[in-house]
Symmetry: C2
Subunit: 179 residues, 2 copies
């Protein structure tokens, strides 16, 4: 869990020639919003739009009081999948120039940020649609588990941090543990 990754790869699996235009991070810290914004707005003088989404730990889930979350994942695969999602996003939204996808590992208290995605583009609709695509795909595809820790005697549950959709279940990752 202590392994940290900060990766700004070339867009190897895309036909784009741009380099260092994707920021992927899976680690025990998230990049600051200022650094995300600086990354998304740098070297893109033709882009008028930056869109960012941040996922936050909520204090409840299905009526139970959540006090803390823990995230755990197989980091190399998570990084590969985030990179693939960014390449897919660029193919779907060709105006987008730069993309960020970062996920926290480890503890995340209520109110803390666990995930940040975003992008830039010349005009705003494309940036906002692409940001929505990034977070939807991240939730659906990235192999990161979360452990919800509940107040009192409710214990905790490890869950896939995934929103499997009909027909998309390609992996089996089930891990449940009541303490």
């Amino acid at each position: 869990m202590a392994t940290k990754y900060l990766k700004m790869p070339n867009d190897e699996s895309s036909s784009s020639s741009s380099s260092s235009s994707i920021l992927i991070q899976v680690s025990e810290t998230l990049p600051s919003l200022e650094s995300v914004h600086d990354f998304l707005s740098s070297s893109s003088p033709g882009c008028g739009a930056v869109s960012v989404f941040v996922g936050i730990t909520r204090n409840n889930f299905e009526g139970k009081v959540v006090t803390n979350l823990e995230y755990e994942g197989y980091t190399p695969m998570a990084i590969r999948e985030l990179h693939a999602i960014c390449c897919d996003a660029r193919a779907m939204y060709p105006g987008v120039e730069r993309l960020v996808a970062a996920h926290l590992l480890g503890d995340c208290p209520v109110g803390g940020a666990s995930v940040v995605v975003g992008c830039n583009s010349p005009h705003r609709k494309e940036a906002m649609r692409c940001t929505e695509y990034l977070i939807d795909e991240l939730k659906a595809r990235v192999p990161i588990w979360k452990k919800e820790i509940y107040e009192g005697d409710e214990g905790s549950v490890w869950k896939e941090n995934l929103e499997w959709r009909e027909g998309r279940r390609r992996r089996v990752m089930a891990k449940e543990n009541h303490v």
Copy 2:
């Protein structure tokens, strides 16, 4: 243009009882993204989503090279309209708890941020839809002009920073100046 406004009003024109849940700013600086995020994620333990959009000065408009923008507005009216937009947004997206709408006045070079809007909500779709609503309405309703300054002999043009839509033209604000 030197006047600065930082306003966190109660939601006077809404039926919501929450206070200090709207951050409006029209001034020669924008709030930092960290402060926007801190505002949007504070005191909202039931909210799992923060969405932010930043508008950036582009280097081109209709084939002309833009070197700089200047923004000018009647600040009290701009603040009132931003506040009204936030109240409208909350009525349309009742899960949203906190909102930000800030616009720069004065100079904004290429690559600089001129506007930031955002909100939080329990789930992500509502936050992202509401953010889109905020920037669409801001562009359509807020009385702020922009002066595009072009490279070389192309001069400059004052424009409404507005996207008038069919049937919504309630004000007449036209101001054009070729230098």
